[in-house]
């Protein structure tokens, strides 16, 4: 009997038996997305000219990349979406949404805005299309535009996706009670264990209850050694009094960002805290040229400050908190800048 069971089933069974605690919501979400992708792949083997199925496959792979942190899904998603658009170049709203979500995931927010707008034109009643726009406009610093798209999304489909975005919007505006309220509503409307976990994660983040223990961050950095994870691990090491090992993590993160490119905002903040100040400013200026949002304003302010240009940093710091954003890191940067000007 064993001989005939497909390998994947065998693997899942082994994984489940070996570590029962591994069956966290994230794992079930991964496997349900994985199943979804596999059934789309099976469908496309029979009907390879199905533009809609290619688009769904692409969207599913963007989701897979989000929950697994595995960037290889991005390149697969891109190719699936390209195939969908080749088969149906016009009015292919699903594929536009997919390209937009992918661009957001890869921090190409200007590109995401464009795809989002095309998606909204093709599918005016799609909440997902509005979601792409909300994310892109928020990151690009177009607060008014993001609010309009968010309201439209909430009108179209009040649910986990729109409530969690609303919560983030409130958070950026310093309206923490409303943010909490939005997340609680999201939790009420959550229909699966994955969605519940997703909402709880956001609530924890809002309350500053993320697990920054040495063990958790070490596992994360070992599983997915992205710059963000390496820095979290490095900071945990610093707290545990292991500066040499911490240094190695920061260096690796910076090396990775320098050699392979990536998010200049992250690079600017890491370099400002743990690397070369001049390099930090270069990264920050590069990202600021692309988008003038509260996030890039904070990075500019901090990079200027570590270069002993605190007077120039102040206007950027003002902009970072202009919406009312009260993030702990942002406030730490602001206090340091104000302190050095006193």
């Amino acid at each position: 009997m064993w001989k005939t069971i497909p390998l994947l089933a065998a693997v899942l069974a082994v994984a489940a038996c070996a570590s029962p605690q591994a069956a966290t919501p994230a794992a079930t979400q991964t496997s349900s997305l994985q199943r979804n992708a596999e059934s789309l792949q099976a469908k496309l083997r029979r009907t390879p000219a199905d533009a809609a199925a290619w688009a769904q496959l692409g969207v599913t792979q963007v989701e897979l990349a989000r929950v697994t942190f595995d960037p290889q899904h991005h390149s697969r998603a891109e190719r699936a979406l390209t195939e969908s658009l080749r088969l149906k170049p016009d009015g292919n709203g699903e594929a536009f949404i997919g390209r937009g979500a992918l661009a957001n995931a890869q921090h190409d927010f200007a590109g995401a805005r464009e795809w989002g707008q095309r998606a909204v034109t093709a599918l005016p009643d799609s909440a997902a299309a509005q979601g792409v726009l909300v994310d892109a406009l928020t990151q690009l610093g177009d607060d008014a535009g993001a609010s309009v798209a968010l309201q439209r999304m909430l009108d179209l489909r009040p649910g986990v996706a729109s409530f969690t975005r609303a919560a983030y919007h409130f958070e950026l505006h310093g309206r923490l009670d409303e943010a909490r309220g939005a997340l609680e509503r999201a939790l009420e409307s959550a229909s699966s264990s994955d969605e519940v976990a997703f909402c709880r994660l956001h609530l924890d983040k809002l309350e500053g209850r993320t697990d920054e223990s040495l063990e958790t961050t070490r596992e994360l950095a070992s599983k997915v050694p992205s710059p963000e994870h390496l820095v979290r691990y490095g900071e945990a090491l610093d707290k545990a009094g292991k500066p040499v090992e911490a240094r190695a993590q920061y260096d690796l993160a910076l090396q990775q960002l320098r050699a392979l490119g990536g998010d200049d905002l992250t690079a600017a903040l890491i370099a400002a805290d743990h690397g070369d100040p001049a390099e930090a400013l270069r990264f920050a200026e590069k990202e600021w040229a692309k988008r003038q949002s509260v996030f890039t304003a904070d990075a500019m302010a901090w990079a200027l400050h570590v270069n002993k240009r605190s007077a120039e940093a102040l206007p950027y710091s003002d902009k970072a908190v202009s919406l009312g954003w009260r993030d702990a890191e942002v406030l730490r940067h602001r206090e340091a800048i104000l302190g050095s000007l006193r």
Binding site: A10, D70, Q72, S222, V224, A259, L260
Partner: protein
């Protein structure tokens, strides 16, 4: 015995690591290839780390130590009995990846004792770095043992080429269960078009009638000839040498004959070594032979350079009282004769020193089928095919030079510099070949 086909055909597609890792530069990819023999299981375990995990891995000291450590996360049971894998061989190479960052490819060879007398059910799982992102693949083949229940062929060619199919998900196989019992071994097929031809030759070896025999010999000739026609066989070097040392048609045949003899001897020795000993890993032997061949070429280049410089000096010295170009030419020729003959033989040895994987496949296939003598004939034919291509290239060059060289000789300065330039070229190519083999 057929397992050695597996050892060898991996090398047919050697090299060629993409700039960006196909499975993202964060991935750590795993492959376990099990070969079940009547008395043991041999395991080749490959870990392919992309750029970032390689940078992250600062504790790496040596491959054997890492392989021992890695062995702890292998778990195998045969009918309730736990198997222990002993490290036989360990190797690590660091091909350059994206942005010049290093990647790491660790290959561990293990053996576990397992007598397959009746039917045995084996489970095998690999939990090494189980949290890392990446491709995971396990294959099982039987060697004089029938195996069922697990895939036999590696679709990533042991983590060298990852399938680029959007309609299949990346493999994530961490465990297999299979049944082994005495019987026919698994037939594995080498990948690629050349692989198909090789398979045909091996297949032909299986059922020997006079017609089939002649066909197999002819096929081996063609395989050898086409193998030598592939780039990287020192043809440039040989050509430069013949041109630079004013070689004759006889010299071209001399090189051809040396290639045949060396190659046939090399394949026979390596083939016999591989089939009597399981300690030798084919890949590392080939690598060292490649290095030796490159160094030999470099040395020949050096000797050539020395005699070219000496000849030039003598010529300079005569230049005052002698203007007859033809005379000077003849003189230099006669003087370098002894060196030249040795250099040509050396060049042939260098060309034939690295046994070609497909010739090895043919030989090992024949040995596995109990027709060793015929395998030797095929390897000889293969060497002849190689020699034919190389000799033809040499002859072509000599006749081209004879036809057009006369005109060129009028340019005194040019003919003066050619031997120096070619000698330097030969040396450079030799160093290059050795370096490439070393970087493997």
């Amino acid at each position: 015995m057929r397992v050695f086909l597996l050892v060898v055909f991996g090398m047919l597609l050697m090299g060629g690591v993409a700039q960006a890792h196909p499975l993202s530069n964060l991935s750590v990819n795993h492959y376990d290839g099990l070969r079940v023999f009547p008395d043991r299981i041999e395991l080749r375990s490959v870990v392919d780390s992309a750029e970032i995990p390689t940078l992250q891995d600062r504790e790496f000291v040596d491959a054997r130590k890492r392989c021992t450590e890695r062995g702890k996360s292998l778990n195998a049971m045969a009918d309730e009995r736990e198997l222990t894998f002993e490290v036989r061989d360990a190797d690590v190479v660091r091909p350059a990846g994206e942005a010049g960052l290093p990647t790491m490819r660790l290959t561990c060879e293990y053996t576990a004792l397992l007598p397959v007398r009746g039917e045995v059910e084996v489970t095998f799982s690999d939990s090494y770095l189980k949290d890392k992102l990446g491709w995971r693949e396990i294959t099982v083949v039987g060697v004089d043992v029938a195996v069922s229940g697990a895939p036999a062929e590696t679709i990533s060619n042991e983590l060298r080429t990852y399938p680029d199919d959007l309609l299949s998900s990346p493999l994530d196989v961490r465990a297999v269960r299979f049944v082994a019992k005495p019987g026919e071994g698994t037939v594995v097929t080498p990948p690629g078009a050349l692989g198909e031809a090789t398979k045909a030759a091996v297949g032909l070896v299986g059922d020997l009638t006079p017609l089939v025999g002649i066909g197999a010999v002819l096929l081996s000739l063609v395989l050898g000839a086409s193998h030598a026609a592939l780039p990287g066989h020192g043809k440039t070097v040989m050509a430069a040498y013949l041109a630079g040392s004013r070689g004759t048609r006889r010299d071209a045949f001399l090189v051809g004959a040396t290639v045949t003899v060396t190659h046939t001897a090399g394949v026979l020795v390596l083939g016999l070594l591989l089939s009597v000993s399981s300690v030798i890993a084919g890949e590392s032997v080939l690598r060292w032979l490649g290095v030796a061949s490159g160094l030999l070429v470099a040395v020949i280049g050096g000797v050539l350079l020395r005699s070219a410089v000496l000849a030039r000096r003598r010529k300079r010295a005569r230049e005052g009282d002698e203007h007859d170009d033809a005379h000077g030419h003849g003189h230099g020729h006669g003087h370098g004769h002894g060196h030249r003959r040795a250099g040509l033989v050396g060049m042939g040895v260098a060309g034939g020193l690295v046994p070609s994987p497909s010739a090895l496949v043919v030989l090992l296939g024949a040995i596995a089928l109990g027709r060793t003598w015929f395998g030797v004939v095929l390897v000889l034919a293969y060497g002849l095919g190689m020699a034919a291509t190389l000799t033809a290239a040499g002859l072509l060059l000599v006749s081209l030079r004879d036809r057009f060289g006369g005109r060129l000789a009028r340019f005194r300065r040019f003919s003066d510099i050619t031997p120096l330039g070619t000698a330097a070229l030969v040396m450079l190519v030799g160093v290059g070949l050795a370096t490439r083999a070393l970087a493997g």
